[in-house]
Amino acid sequence: MDDLKEANAEENLTVWKLRERFPEAILSTKSFRNEITIVVKPSEISRVCRHLKEEPELRYDFLSDLTAVDRLREHPRFEVVYHLYSLQFKRRVRLKVLVEEGEAVPSVTQVWGTADWHEREVYDMFGVGVEGHPDLRRILMPEDWEGHPLRKDYPVQASPKWWEEGGER
């Protein structure tokens, strides 16, 4: 917990290996509290993920988590965040892809089956499209729901119009 010294992202093996293999795809790297974040070009994300999973020295075989962050008023607006874990080497890395509103990220369901529901949640909650997803539907909200609740311009407390008017949907 008490980080003695902050690791240098560029000295990290994963970053180093990725830079070597995909010099064009890595946009930036960062280390905070000894967690490495790598920002990847959207078009390259599934290739980078596959490489991270299959490269024998890295073996990020477990996708822990996939979610998004809405940076309203910044461009690009959305960050799609991937938390990868290597069961063999006990290492974690965070990948990020930045997309503008209306743009889609390529799906990583071909790399990890678990990405299926996570990507549906990102689509449902943020309205970020996922290209190549086998079954992109809302997952938590009703199918006919309007809006994407976790966007920053979506109110925390509000009711749908039909509810306010006391009418039928």
Binding site: M1, R33, E35, T37, S64, L87, T114, M141, V156
Partner: protein, 390 residues
């Protein structure tokens, strides 16, 4: 007539075996499940959205309500994430109490799983026994936090309060009596031919599939993948305890049962060690910017009053940045992803709920099996819908 005739039925959202509000659309060929499509979201309460409008300490009660069978595990993951973000190290006594309470939580959660899973399959009496012991754990929650279920006992920087008087005796008597109780459950089930018939070879998942689907916790370990975050990335001082990781071989319902039974014994061993080595000292960091000053101080000292006022009106600020902290909850990897913009309110909170991820594996385990097996499989994944839908 050569056309394939299948029947589509809805299982849930109010089916007793779905443990809450889970709806499965089953396509059946006779009694065999051809396709299983889970529909979730019935318990979606927008917890992540609410958390993004609350101050850091105020998020803790929200986490209780996710996996409501293991509130303290959720608390722990969240407070560890905030502490990591702020670079806080909590005092040793707080760490040990946290470990002790979360391990009791694991036992409590596994007891509910055991009771409901057994009742789903038709073993009524186990449920009554398991809930009898769980009651003792809920009583302990009540003693430390004042609430039986939504305990919110942990705080960023430590604990809400120290253990009450004679609490250690309560835990000690539970630790002494519980091994016999466990033997009682095992007597009823482990070698029971009906239990074995209903669980062995049912809901099998291969280790590579389990990893691909992101399964974690006892579900993953039952396939023979020995991953436990308490060992691989010890938090809250877990490296000081000696315990073993459960491990199955077949990845079926029966192995998941064995794994959880084993884990209860290990948790008991951890609780015992925590009791033996419970250090004295403060239960929260001595930083007035995070921990409220003791009440008598507020009446005497101007600084204490200011800190008290600021903490309750504004909370504390965190450095700009993002962290991911995960713990081994009773269900698996419970992760908290926190993004801070430097204010007193988290910019983004995401909970990586193990039940949500584990449930995704259900179709792969259920397809090709009988409807009756679906009930056994759902029980064995040990989902809590509060956490699936958040």
């Amino acid at each position: 007539m050569t056309e394939a005739r299948t029947m589509t039925i809805n299982m849930g959202p109010q089916h007793p075996s779905t443990h809450g509000v889970l709806r499965l659309v089953l396509e059946l060929d006779g009694e065999v499940v051809v396709r299983c499509t889970p529909h979730i979201g019935y318990l979606h309460t927008g917890m992540e959205k609410i958390a993004e409008s609350k101050r850091y300490q105020q998020v803790i009660p929200i986490t209780d309500r996710m996996d409501y069978l293991a509130p303290l595990s959720n608390n722990l993951a969240y407070v560890l994430a905030v502490e990591k973000l702020m670079g806080i190290e909590v005092p040793p006594r707080a760490k040990v109490i946290r470990v002790m309470m979360t391990e009791l939580t694991r036992i409590g959660s596994h007891l509910v799983w055991l009771g409901t899973h057994a009742i789903d399959i038709g073993a009524m009496s186990v449920f009554l026994y398991a809930f009898r012991e769980r009651e003792q754990i809920l009583d302990m929650y009540e003693q430390v936090a004042g609430a039986r279920m939504m305990s919110s006992y942990f705080r960023v920087g430590g604990l809400f309060a120290d253990l009450p008087e004679r609490f250690e005796e309560t835990v000690r008597s539970f630790v002494t009596s519980f091994p016999d109780r466990l033997a009682e459950y095992e007597n009823l089930l482990t070698a029971n031919p009906i239990w074995i018939q209903r669980t062995k070879g049912v809901g099998v998942i291969k280790p590579e599939d389990a990893v691909d689907l992101g399964m974690s916790g006892p579900n993953l370990r039952a396939c023979g993948v020995p991953w436990d975050i308490r060992k691989s990335h010890p938090y809250s001082g877990y490296e000081q305890y000696s315990f073993e990781i459960s491990r199955g071989t077949h990845g079926d319902v029966y192995d998941r049962y064995l794994c959880r039974m084993f884990e209860m014994r290990q948790s008991l061993a951890i609780v015992r060690q925590a009791l033996e080595h419970l250090p004295d000292g403060p239960i929260a960091v001595q930083d007035p910017k995070v921990t409220p000053p003791p009440k008598p101080m507020v009446k005497k000292s101007m600084e204490a009053l200011i800190h008290h006022f600021l903490l309750w009106s504004e909370g504390f600020r965190t450095p700009v940045g993002e962290v991911y902290q995960s713990i081994e909850s009773p269900k698996g990897e419970f992760g908290v992803y926190l993004v801070s913009d430097g204010s007193n309110i988290p910019y983004r909170v995401h909970f990586r709920a193990p039940s949500f991820v584990n449930l995704q594996a259900l179709p792969r385990m259920a397809e090709g099996r009988l409807v009756a097996d679906v009930v056994a499989i759902i029980g064995s994944i040990d989902i809590v819908l509060g956490e699936v839908d958040r």
